[in-house]
Amino acid sequence: MELNKYQQELFDHQRPVIEKYDRRAWGWSIFYLLWIGLGGYALYLQVIKGHKITGMRDNVVWGLYIANFIFFIGISYAGAVISGILHILKVEWRKPIIRIAEMITVISTIIGPIFILLCIGRLDRLHHLFLYPRLQSPITWDVLAILTYFAGSVIFLYLALIKDFAIYRDANLKVPKWKQKMYKILAIGYKGTPSQKRHISISMNLMAIMIVPLAIIVHSVLSWIFGMTLRPGWHSTIFGPYFVLAAIYSGTGVLIMAMWVYRKMYKLNSYLQDKHFIYLGYIMMILGAAYGYFTFSEYLTGWYGSEKWDSEVIGKLFNPAEYGWWFLFANVAGIILPILIVAIPKTRTPNLIAIASFFMVLALWVKRYLIIVPTLESPLLPMQDTRPEFVKYSATWVEWALTFAGIATFFLFFTIMSKFVTIIPISEFADKEKKSEPVPEIQKEIATE
């Protein structure tokens, strides 16, 4: 593979990263593995002793696991929607960030469903989902949608990687034989002939067009697990679009955070430029406003209509003694903060946008928890139960350990992936893209400030 000057420069910059699993990577990997080990022990206990060792009981039948499930499927939208849409719209500045976005998608689509499995009482009967499937059940829709979505995301990521694999194959990297061999296999004989180029380009376009509706279906179906029930706070018609929007929003946040970390770690400032943060910041601000609008109309209608059951759930969200502070945090950090940070020119810097993203992602996790738990704590019939753990949910160390194990798995996969492929795609990088794109006037102003 012939590389042009800029591609060569970019490749040389990233070369040491994929050539050596250095001490820092090992250190972090071991740290993540320790967390995963703790999670494994927790899972072992849960299988042996039953779900009794979790905080879930007959009223609150779902807890942290399902919140994590929604969260991870949500952040998977980074690749699917952000990079898919930017691809369709042929936005040039997307090129350095698509790899990170699509890696987030694939990795979180693996981790998300694991959390739903943790919530299932009989893991030994999982094959029943395929032996006795019932199409009426939203869970079956979910299984079909997520599997298709996962396959789609892997293909989308892989298509964008083929050219790079060919570059790694031909570059005589100082890597072990097995790795060399894998590059060779994965490059599937790509040589850069016009017909090969055309095929990849057509496939990429097709996948980009397919991945967007697929992603929308996945999160809509997921929201319908709640929307289809007759529970206050769940039985809402806007749940589909609300969840989809929240997912794209949190995906953007995670993408910004990942970019920030990689930029710091591998000194990629000249590729992951300030403009990338600012552009993604704009997208995040618009999504945040839309998400805020959905949140407002969802709770306003419930509160104004003040039906008995709705008021009970909303009352818990507004009551500082129950979930009031969490609800406030979810809305301030999840809606107001990111909008302000991006809207005010002074604060519109990569560092602050990354910090705002961090709090926003955290707030959206809290929001998922607030969707699940308060509703389940408000059954239509009075509980009249004397056992505190049946009345109020509080997650046990087992659930927390598995939650952190999930996050650690996410980071571990990311670390491993970034040692296998370059974080910034090389083949996509044509001459003109480096620093040549004129920054709009408004950006120049910001830069000088």
């Binding site: 009794k52 039948v61 006795y132 697990i225 029930t229 007759l230 239509l380 004397t386």
Partner: protein, 325 residues
């Protein structure tokens, strides 16, 4: 009019006849099963029974061994239900004084520990000024069951006789049905259920619901195994005040053990309602409003053990029904 009455009379006779035959057949099977295997001291009391060959035989009553929870039907039959039946329950709220005999009988029959109630009695209070009343609640066996809709593996199903049952050998434990049921009817086996040894190793049938299994969902099943034997569910039998009427909507008869009455007449005369009709689930359980009550509500509270008192304390306090200390 007269003809109609005749039909309903005939139906009632048929019901009684089938009930009687079923009882005898079941007992005969039971007695035959044990007569060859065990030696017991005769007590001298003779019982007449119908043998499988159609002869009437007289045996000593000590040979009678009531076989509880025989898995008498196949899995397929348990999914289809009893042909021609449409089970229905009517709960007379004006007679309930929270004696909790129904709960005890249910727990005993299904080998349940105290903390897992299939049948619960709630203390309801519909409005701020309204009077509280006791509200026994089983599974409503809805005709439009939200739980059955959402099951991904067909582990919970609706039968032709109206019952909603669970196959706990199919259930994957996703708990979606528990989230979908608006009446908090379903319970989950959060750990391995504590059961006597012989019950634990008994053959499972969705009609008996035992033995329970860890990581699966279960709930009130209206005891179809007893219906097959022509018996009423234990909760109905155990109630000292005849609160529960159980029967067949097709035959238009319900019985609380003491009296057998016309189902349609009963719900017409007493203005029966279904709980939260507006949810559209179409329950198979009807409630007779707590009008002209036989017992003051305090009667169901005073003699409760402390841990149970705790459950209802809020409502009692709210209604100023607790004596001030």
């Amino acid at each position: 009019m007269k003809k109609e009455e005749e039909i309903s009379n005939k139906a009632r006779r048929d019901f009684l006849k089938t009930t009687a035959i079923a009882t005898i057949a079941a007992t005969a099977c039971g007695s035959l099963a044990c007569s060859c295997s065990s030696k017991k001291a005769n007590v001298g009391e003779k019982v007449k029974l119908l043998s499988p060959d159609g002869e009437i035989v007289e045996i000593d009553s000590s040979y009678l061994n009531h076989q509880e929870h025989m898995a008498i039907v196949s899995k397929l039959e348990a999914r289809e239900g009893i042909a021609g039946k449409k089970f229905v329950m009517v709960v007379d709220l004006s007679r309930c004084k929270n004696a909790r005999k129904c709960v005890a009988a249910c727990q005993k029959w299904h080998y349940r520990t105290e903390d897992k109630e299939w049948l619960t009695v709630k203390l309801m209070k519909d409005s701020e000024e309204g009077a509280p009343y006791w509200f026994p609640k089983q599974c409503f066996h809805c005709d439009n069951p939200p739980c059955v809709k959402v099951c991904p593996v067909d582990a919970t199903f609706k039968r032709q006789d109206g019952l909603v049952l669970i196959d706990n050998e199919r259930c994957i434990g996703c708990k979606f049905c528990m989230a979908a049921c608006p009446y908090s009817t379903r319970v989950f086996n959060w750990s391995e259920p504590e059961l006597p040894f012989d019950i634990k190793h008994q053959q499972y049938s969705p009609e008996t619901g035992i033995p329970g299994k860890v990581g699966t969902v279960e709930k009130c099943d209206f005891c179809p195994d007893r219906s097959r034997e022509g018996l009423l569910p234990p909760c109905v039998e155990a109630c000292p005040n005849g609160v529960f009427y159980f029967g067949d909507e097709n035959e238009d008869t319900v019985s609380n053990g003491d009296e057998t009455v016309s189902f349609s007449q009963l719900i017409k005369d007493r203005a029966a309602y279904r709980f939260q009709e507006e949810l559209g689930t179409k329950p198979r359980v009807y409630y007779l409003p707590p009008k002209d009550r036989q017992f003051p509500v305090e009667r169901g509270y005073e003699n409760l053990p402390d841990n149970l008192k705790e459950r209802f304390k809020d409502v009692m306090e709210e209604s100023n029904l607790l004596e001030k200390k």
